[in-house]
Amino acid sequence: MLILLYALVFGMLVPLKPGIEGLSKSVLKTGMTNSFQVNTYNTIYSGDENQEAYLKIDSVHFLKATQVEVLSNRQSTITFDLPSLPGTDSLKYATLLITDQENGTIVYPEGIVIKETGTDSNSSWSTLENGPTLYKKTGFLFPYRNLLVESIRNTFYHIPLWFAMFILFFAAMILNIKYLVKKKLDDDHKASSLIYAGILMGILGLITGSLWAKDTWGAYWTSDVKLNMSAISMMIYLAYWILRSSIEDIDKKARLSSTYSIFAFFTIVPLIFVIPRITDSLHPGNGGNPALGGEDMDHTMRMVFYPAIIGFTLLGVWIAQIILRLKRVREKWFLKMMD
């Protein structure tokens, strides 16, 4: 419970790193002075920082802004004097960097298009040897990602819920095999309680994912593979629940539902792990979207993410234990009634 509390509190309270929300103009032309407004996120400008802004077009060439004017905490105007593009390209994507000592460096990756007009200007591209000094913001902060923004926090609830569901189902399958080998009815009680807790986790996972999708993709339900596959696995396990409640005889119930659950587990493995890997998905991590790896999941997030997995799994086990105790009591009561 403590781990879960930790994940909930830190997952919600830790602020995001500063970032850039959007620009007033995203196409710049060479050979003239371009100025545009930048909307930044979570930045604090008191006025005496020396902001510097840079445009970076490849690993070597960058350009320093001629003027950075702060309008408010979240708005500033940046002016670039753009020279002709190096090379022969007529279009180039550029990355905007704004850096100062207080807020660190914020990046707008490849969000600007530079159009070659043929005219040059007084300034020129610098090369990386005398590159800019980039400041780093210190402190416990989550990374800022365009599109995801604050909803990046859903990583701590939505994904661990699926992890927990799968771990619970896996444990249930092991217990089912144990039941079939040893024929102890208590194993089946344990397995079915775990599966019920797993179904609960899965439904919560669907709900959190759905709310997040409404915010990020614009709809509660899309035809994305992962959504449909998880819906199918929910259906399979709900069918398990119906199968159990349709059989009267306790031993028969245990035996048949155990076999069905083992079979079901092996069908959801390709559903969850294989099919989403070979098809494109809207989910972060697929089709060029940010995800768990690399820069997108940094150490600050891992510090909350892994405990969250453990916490939700333990919560599932705890729920399963409550169901299990209820079952044991019912069985005792039933046996008493028989006497």
Binding site: L243, S258, V269, I275
Partner: protein, 218 residues
Amino acid sequence: MKLSRIYSLILKDIKTELRDKYAIGAIILYVITSTFIVYKSFQTVTVMAWNVLFWIIFLFAALSALVKSFAQESKSQYLYYYQVAHPGEIIIAKIIYNVLMLLIVSLILYFVLVVFTINPVVDLNLFFLSIFLGAIGVSTCFTFVASILSTQNNQSTMMAILSLPLIIPILLLLIKLSGNALGILQDTSYNSDLLLLVGIDSILFGVAVIIFPVVWRS
């Protein structure tokens, strides 16, 4: 486990099926009737709809055909099989027999659909390959679920509830594969889908053979 015993169990199944012809006749009639309904209600069937209709009719024909794969013989007969044969042999024989039956049903369905509507198949080999793999997957899954339910009363409802979700991944892959065969999808990487289908089929087959003895004892 002996191949000859599996072979004779399959022969036994075929003979029982041929003895009372109404079961296979009912399935064929079901296929023809539903195709006719499709033909009358759609007027012109597009290739996309043809693909989906083929698999939907196939699925429900298989569902009604395979529900009774363990229900058509009496309890004493099963006691006899239990003594003479290994349970693994029985489930393998049943699955192979059901695959054969599904292949016949799907051939008839293909023929009838082509006669009544259109023949959109471009790549015949791929189409029959997907039918073959689909028949194995569907037959394994449905036979297993039918064996779980063999002693139950409300078989056909429970069969639909338990086996349809299990079959969805196979069905989605099949629709994609046969979409390639019909030329509506230009997917060059269908080989990985084929491999995945073979993988799912063999996993289900293995699991079914391993845990069937437990069910069989009842």
